[in-house]
């Protein structure tokens, strides 16, 4: 108990802050912050597994998040029959060709020694393959994108409940990570960072511009929900009764019946969106707890010890007969898969998929700030980092506004400096994140909750 005191203290302060937001701003805001904190926590856990356990630097978090989101679309949206009949066969045939091309390249790689001739053969296969695939897929893609472009214009998905996408998102992200890992894991740390960052940009470019698959920048809206809809809730008997019970003391103060009814309606409307958010919080909390249990178990298992050994001294671990390359690939895939889950969760909560919103600042660098601030190598630290940083990211605008008003209190309201500063309040969050990161790295380089390995 004593040795976990700092963990408990840090988490209670965090929860207290969110409750304060609930009391002073509104419970709606508090819960939406809490939900995104949970999602950020999942992302941070993924990055923490790679960085904290194994020392692998992965700046491609944005790409995996987007793939998770893509999974949500492909699982939950109903299939567009016309589009399938218009161009489905071409797409399937191209897919078949891609698989064939990959197999051919693999065959050549296995069969022949590494010579210049082999490189030429492989590049010929790839270039020819790309030309043929473009030739085959072009009419199909055009046909698909022409099917009711204002509403669909893409193949749609499988029409399954969106919850499944959390698993599929993990598979997608893990698959991508496998390919990237095979290609890039041999690079030195900072090159790996740049390579993963650029590859994630390629992934986003593909998601943004392949309209037949993702609708691209036209966005997919109105995804299915695992939680009830507010409008339906507001009509449900038991829910209205529940809200009435909760607010009985306030309602009883109002004597007039019509007024009381109006107030009750207001409470029901507010309550319904709080209730929906609570549903999401419950689902997300389950994911976070399951992941936390698994990652903690992994951290203290022989495998976790091996990972730390590899991280701290690769050569020594290699000399002890540990397969460093294989373990690096494994942990790269696992961490990315967790980020993929978070991506699917994010789209599930928003109910929409907007490829244009995936930007490295928000989805890669911010997550890294969370990992570093929270404490790399410590799962509780990673989750805390997700909470603290996301909370500050959202609340820095009000805090910034308060500070600006405080420092410029002596100035006239129309003074150009004051107006300018108030207009630029949204950017104080960058300043806060940067300053926070620099201060933590300088004075507490292991994060708020540092890695602590107990030997049992």
């Amino acid at each position: 108990m004593r040795k976990n005191l700092n963990v408990i203290a840090a988490y209670s302060i965090m929860m207290g802050l969110i409750v304060l937001v609930g009391i002073f701003q509104s419970w709606n805001i508090a819960l939406s912050i809490f939900n995104l904190c949970l999602i950020s926590a999942v992302m941070t856990m993924g990055a923490n597994i790679q960085w904290g356990y194994a020392g692998l630097i992965n700046f491609g978090i944005m790409g995996y998040t987007a793939l998770g989101g893509l999974a949500a679309v492909l699982i939950s949206v109903n299939p567009v029959q016309e589009a399938w009949s218009a161009g489905g066969s071409n797409i399937l045939f191209s897919l078949f060709l891609i698989v064939g091309m990959v197999l051919a390249v693999r065959y050549v790689l296995k069969k022949y020694e590494k010579t210049q001739k082999r490189t030429y053969i492989i590049s010929t296969i790839i270039i020819l393959g790309i030309i043929i695939i473009r030739f085959v897929s072009e009419p199909g893609i055009e046909a698909i994108e022409e099917v009711d472009p204002a509403k669909t214009g893409f193949l749609g998905g499988l029409g399954l409940p969106i919850i499944f996408s959390w698993i599929v998102g993990a598979l997608f992200a893990g698959g991508l990570a496998f390919v990237i890992g095979k290609v890039a894991l041999g690079l030195r740390a900072d090159y790996l960072a740049i390579a993963t960052l650029l590859i994630s940009e390629i992934v986003i470019a593909i998601i943004k511009h392949e309209d037949w698959l993702t609708r691209g920048v036209k966005n997919v809206i109105g995804l299915k929900r695992p939680a009830p809809y507010e409008v339906n809730l507001q009509q449900t008997e038991w829910f209205i009764n529940l809200v009435e019970k909760f607010n009985l003391s306030k309602l009883n103060l109002i004597s007039d019946f019509a007024e009381r009814q109006a107030a009750l309606n207001q409470f029901v409307i507010e309550g319904s969106s709080v209730f929906v958010k609570l549903c999401y919080s419950g689902l997300f909390l389950i994911v976070v707890i399951i992941l936390l249990i698994l990652t903690q178990k992994a951290l203290y298992s022989p495998w976790g010890r091996m990972m730390r050994a590899i991280r701290d001294n690769e050569e020594a671990a290699n000399a002890m007969g540990k397969n460093v390359v294989k373990q690096h690939l494994l942990i790269f895939v696992l961490g990315s898969a967790i980020v993929g889950i978070a991506g699917a969760m994010l789209v599930t909560q928003d109910g929409l998929f907007t490829p244009g919103s995936y930007r490295p600042m928000r989805y890669t660098f911010l997550i890294w700030v969370m990992v570093i601030v929270g404490g790399s190598g410590n799962n509780f630290g990673a989750i805390l980092g997700g909470f603290v940083v996301w909370f500050l990211w959202i609340e820095s605008a009000p805090i910034g506004l308060y500070l600006v008003n405080l420092t410029t209190a002596g100035l006239d309201d129309a003074h150009f400096l004051k107006v300018h500063l108030i207009e630029s309040v949204p950017y104080f969050r960058f300043l806060m994140m940067g300053a926070g990161l620099l201060l933590i790295m300088r004075y507490r380089p292991k994060g708020i909750l540092p890695e602590k390995i107990e030997i049992k």
Binding site: I194, A195, L198, M361, V369, S424, L438
Partner: protein, 336 residues
């Protein structure tokens, strides 16, 4: 005649824009490579440092415009750049003193320095947005075109026009002057040679009495000059928007690595490699083939290898291929 038309077409749409864009990338890439070679970390704040320098250029341009100082047909920004550079160097040295120095002295691993540079990136981005705002700004004034498409057509009697923007010419000229001075400095002067020595082997350089503090300071000064000029030229040619500058960091990194990181000359050429391949692969060649081929063989489609949406993706793919097959870059930089 058709053949000349085809050449002019390529010049107008590929060669001139790519040369200008490549020069802008090259300056950024040399900046990245110098920091990497001498201070030994990947600087993720590159794009934002460039936007910081450009911001000062814009502020000074506005000031000069308001008091009525100009350069006639040249953009006022050229006059503003030297003043901006002074501020930029001050900022760079300040950052180094308060942020990077600590990690350099304590010999932190490069990854940690890269993380720190992310912190610097956030702060710089915030400062730029707070001072000048996130919106798109054009600060070009003076004569816009050196040769207008219409005039060129009249002059030569060709079907295709060749338009050359004055910003493109300025970009290429300034880049050539700056880069040749830089190479002269690195290869011929004593300080430049000691910088190279320090980059090659730190311990040996220290043994032979090279002052590391001086090397680091000069590196930041050169970096400040490159970042400001590179950023200002890009802003003059296109427009200034903090977010675009942040994004430009990615092709700049690609250029630096493709050219062989740590090798300034490689970075210089890398910029052009990236720019030319981006534009060559995404240009629609339909009109070009219409001029060149006989009528019966005219192509039906756009004859475009990749849609323009994938412009950035091209440079990143080149980078990935280079990393796979020749990790030290085309012109042999540091081995990974």
């Amino acid at each position: 005649m058709d053949f000349v038309n085809a050449i002019i077409l390529l010049l107008n749409y590929i060669f001139v824009p790519a040369l200008a864009y490549g020069s802008q990338l090259a300056l950024g890439a040399i900046f990245v490579t110098l920091i990497y070679g001498i201070l030994r970390f990947a600087n993720f704040a590159t794009g934002d440092m460039m936007s910081f320098g450009t911001m000062f250029t814009i502020l000074f341009t506005w000031y000069f415009q308001s008091v009525g100082i100009g350069l006639g047909f040249l953009p006022t920004a050229l006059l503003a750049i030297p003043f901006a550079i002074i501020f930029m160097i001050g900022y760079m040295l300040l950052i180094d003193k308060f942020v990077f120095k600590y990690y350099r002295v304590s010999k932190s691993p490069p990854v940690q320095l890269a993380m720190v540079s992310i912190g610097v990136m956030f702060v710089t981005q915030a400062v730029v947005r707070i001072i000048i705002g996130p919106s798109d700004r054009r600060f070009f004034d003076g004569e816009k075109f050196l040769i207008k498409a219409g005039e060129f057509k009249e002059m030569t009697g060709l079907n295709e026009g060749l338009a050359i923007k004055s910003t493109q010419v300025i970009t290429i000229f300034v880049t050539l002057i700056l880069v040749s001075t830089l190479f002269w400095f690195l290869n011929k002067t004593k300080t430049g040679k000691s910088m190279k020595a320090y980059s090659d082997n730190e311990d040996l350089a220290l043994l032979s009495g090279i002052d590391p503090k001086k090397i680091v300071m000069i590196t930041w000064i050169i970096a400040g000059i490159l970042a400001t000029i590179g950023g200002a030229l890009y802003g003059l040619d296109k427009s200034f928007k903090p977010f675009t500058y942040f994004n430009n960091m990615l092709p700049i990194f690609a250029a630096a690595i493709v050219g062989g990181i740590g090798n300034p000359f490689g970075a210089f050429l890398g910029g052009y490699v990236i720019a030319f391949s981006e534009i060559l692969l995404t240009y629609a060649y339909r009109k070009f083939f219409m001029y060149i081929l006989p009528e019966s063989m005219e192509p039906g489609g756009l004859v475009q290898l990749l849609s323009t949406d994938y412009k950035f993706a091209v440079s990143f793919s080149i980078l990935v291929i280079v990393l796979l097959y020749r990790p030290s870059g085309i012109f042999k930089g540091k081995v990974l």
